[in-house]
Symmetry: C2
């Protein structure tokens, strides 16, 4: 598969997983967390698919398209592990969705972030919330969800926070 085909598959997986989440979360109110803004394309898609819900962005360094740059009230700028506790203090456990797109292509760095991320995100999620991720995450309380048809195994990951979830 060429790098062009691989890029198409990756973007289609993002679109399909976000669209699945938008349907699955109709009855789960709450805000949206976008971990890793990058170019801002998935942020734009999240805003389209979750109209009326605040989307909070976590990013180390802003380099997004101007049309897809959140205002200061919706931006937590800095290292995830510094900003997620700040967000928890401000938002509490109010998120219906966390979309985690932080793969840098550097395997060692990505797996180090992935190993700690679930624990840092989990306290922000309300019961019934979904987590989408481009990297494998693991949290004892989260249940893996089936991927939408057409999304290849291992290309994206979906987890659900059980309704009876004990946070932390």
């Amino acid at each position: 598969m060429s790098r062009l085909e691989s890029a198409i598959r990756r973007l289609e997986a993002q679109r399909d997983c976000i669209d699945f989440a938008a349907s699955a979360l109709v009855d789960v109110p709450g805000c949206i967390l976008e971990l890793g803004l990058g170019n801002g394309r998935t942020y734009d898609h999240l805003k389209t698919r979750f109209p009326g819900r605040p989307v909070y962005v976590f990013e180390r360094e802003l380099r997004a398209h101007p049309d897809s740059t959140p205002d200061d009230d919706h931006l937590f700028l800095g290292d995830f592990f510094a900003t997620l506790p700040q967000a928890l203090a401000r938002l509490g456990a109010t998120a219906a969705l966390a979309h985690c797109d932080f793969g840098s292509g550097k395997a060692e760095r990505d797996s180090a972030v992935a190993a700690r991320l679930a624990g840092a995100v989990a306290p922000l999620l309300r019961p019934g919330a979904l987590v989408l991720s481009d990297q494998p995450l693991a949290h004892p309380a989260w249940q893996p969800e089936q991927l939408p048809a057409g999304v290849g195994e291992g290309r994206y990951y979906i987890f659900r926070v059980p309704i009876s979830h004990v946070r932390g």
Copy 2:
């Protein structure tokens, strides 16, 4: 349409136009010109679809993925209008395909490049060659080709150099 959906359409259009060109050029020998390397994804796709043919890259500034960076013999680094005449001196009219992907999102700059590009590329093309472009180009000798099914009007452009083409 969200920016994510738009990006998917753009990459699919690139893939479909390159795949069309690979079929259409089976009997037209010659090298491939890639004008605008960017991340290097379409360069990778061109190499996959045109095995055994040299792919020459024209780029102002290298910022491609290391796996998709051409060697010095296949790279013309600098402004298109300085490097295309250098390429003509070295390669002559030997190209079967020119893939032009130089849209910067800055409309004024893009249309200024587009207005001059056809005239600078044309002398490098052999009769029967194809030109793919993300921007509208115009050359008196080139004939517009129908886009592959599924590629939206105006998202990509395909031109063919007639067999009886008078170059220049």
